[in-house]
């Protein structure tokens, strides 16, 4: 895989920024509370993206359920999918029961370790636990070795996970493509592990984020970022840390509509194809 640090650019349109997310690519996205690019997700569905290998680090909610329901996902790799307090993820559950997607069940720290392996440019990362879990039986890519530093000490090795594209939503980016991610540091690991990183942000910060030490400490350098698009409330209806909370009323409406294929189709018409953003 190539890692080409291109000059990060602020794109004129969201669709332009999302161009590298092609049918069949491996796409990495973060957990609900870390900044999910929902406006971008709706744009991808409008564009009709197909056969995605979606990797949610380490879990997912609405974003994954929406993409599954829209038929955009061939393979899903994550540790859990639900709507949190709003109940089960209806399209995820339906797809699993119908065998409509290939599920690669993981566990949170395993996914973190696999991204860290890619970040470090090593082929694998060890992890405790896992042995005796049925997850192992269904993940032939996870291996058990005898710890060379121990004595009869089995330990699991997990292969590096190198997504083609990482996609998330953040509060700020500057003109150099530096992105403020604050405490959501798994976004940094995602960007380091992925060949390309695409970010939507609430707004453009007009001064260099790296110049101010306070901002710099929570900034992903533009060096790792291929494209940035501005999308106000781009995580809606999901929360954006320190900016806005989850839209509980909307989540309840989604849970209700997505319970049936017909209701889900209505949801898509109303909130995705109608380009309604908020």
């Amino acid at each position: 895989m190539e890692y080409l640090p291109l000059m990060a650019r602020i794109t004129r349109s969201l669709d332009e920024a999302l161009a590298p997310i092609t049918d069949g690519c491996m796409l990495a996205v973060p957990r609900e509370t870390s900044g999910v690019a929902m406006a971008a997700t709706r744009a991808l569905i409008r564009r009709g993206v197909k056969r995605l290998h979606l990797v949610a680090l380490p879990t997912s909610t609405l974003q994954t359920d929406l993409l599954i329901g829209a038929g955009a996902i061939a393979t899903l790799e994550t540790s859990a999918v639900s709507l949190g307090e709003f109940g089960a993820a209806p399209r995820f559950n339906a797809a699993i029961l119908a065998g409509a997607i290939h599920m690669r069940d993981a566990t949170c720290p395993a996914l973190h370790a696999q991204f860290q392996a890619a970040e470090k440019g090593v082929p694998f990362m060890p992890l405790r636990g896992l042995i005796g879990s049925d997850l192992m039986a269904h993940r032939p890519d996870w291996k058990i070795i005898d710890n060379p530093f121990g004595n009869d000490d089995p330990i699991v090795l997990l292969p590096a996970l190198k997504p083609d594209v990482a996609l998330f939503h953040a509060p700020l980016a500057d003109r150099d493509g530096n992105v403020y991610i604050g405490r959501e540091r798994e976004l940094v690991i995602m960007a380091h592990a992925a060949a390309r990183t695409i970010v939507t942000v609430e707004e453009i910060h007009e001064t260099d984020l790296l110049h101010d030490p306070l901002f710099a400490a929570g900034t992903l350098p533009g060096f790792y970022v291929e494209a940035v698009a501005v999308e106000r409330r781009g995580a809606w209806p999901l929360p954006l840390p320190d900016r806005y909370g989850i839209d509980a009323a909307h989540m309840s409406e989604y849970a209700r509509l997505a319970a049936t294929p017909e209701g889900f189709a209505q949801y898509l018409d109303r909130y995705v194809y109608a380009k309604r953003a908020a």
């Binding site: 879990t59 699993i96 896992l130 049925d134 997850l135």
Partner: protein
């Protein structure tokens, strides 16, 4: 005696199980354990004992983590999390938990969200408390259909952690790691031993006389309702509303 809700009783029981830990972490979708952890922190504060750190996954106000989603698991791997909570779509008599699916994994009859961090945290956190509010033969089964994480491991597997108890809407079980078996510790007020036996799909030990689960004190209920409940509203708005009548924050509340 003060009136209380089932959730308040369970939180009180869990709070006693937490004891005097240094760091209690609570995962996603665990409002009752979160209530118990925050309650334990308040109590520790009141009694000027050692500071209790509480980390609520997904919370902004009630976690100290600043290193991203990875930190919870690294922290546990360092031996720095004393108590964690796990549930299961199915839990069996050996403490195995199933968070994945019912029936054949390739052709499941029902699907649960997934294993979350259980396949790691169950092994490395010294005191894992299992909780399942629905106590039935559907949830407490002889053998889980899928082992997200096993209740025990062979001696050669490095495993400092594992289950210490299972709390349900009917009773409290304690877990014996040597025998890999549950023992009925107490039955909640309004429930009986026979009822527990009838509704439990696995065999378990029990004393001749099964004690009644102590009810929460007025002071405990006051702490829960006045101090803890408002904290819960941040990440469990629906729960805080339903159980404690605390208004959920508006979406703009974090802004």
């Amino acid at each position: 005696m003060t009136e209380f809700r089932d959730e308040e009783l369970l939180a009180d029981v869990i709070c006693r199980l937490i004891g005097d830990a240094r760091h209690v972490a609570v995962g996603a979708a665990s409002p009752i354990p979160a209530t118990a952890a925050l309650l334990a922190r308040e109590r520790a504060g009141l009694h000027n004992s050692n500071r209790l750190y509480v980390s609520l996954l997904g919370s902004r106000a009630h976690t100290f983590f600043t290193d991203g989603a990875r930190e919870l698991f690294d922290c546990a791997g360092q031996g720095r999390i004393d108590v964690f909570f796990l549930s299961g779509g199915q839990i069996d008599g050996e403490g195995n938990i199933n968070l994945v699916s019912v029936g054949d994994y390739e052709r499941p009859k029902a699907r649960f969200p997934g294993s979350f961090g259980s396949a790691y945290l169950y092994y490395v956190v010294p005191r894992v408390i299992l909780f399942r509010t629905e106590h039935s033969r559907r949830t407490l089964v002889p053998k889980v259909d899928f082992i997200s994480a096993p209740g025990g491991s062979p001696d050669n597997v490095v495993r400092p952690g594992g289950p210490i108890a299972l709390i349900t809407n009917r009773c409290l079980f304690e877990f014996d790691r040597m025998q890999r078996r549950f023992r009925l510790a107490s039955v909640h007020p309004g429930h009986g031993v026979e009822e527990v036996v009838e509704n439990t799909g696995f065999a378990f030990d029990r004393p001749a006389q099964v004690p009644l689960t102590p009810v929460p004190s007025a002071e405990t209920l006051r702490l829960m309702r006045t101090v803890v409940a408002p904290m819960l509203a941040e990440i469990y708005p629906q729960f805080a509303q339903k159980v404690f009548g605390v208004a959920a924050p508006l979406p703009s509340a974090h802004a």
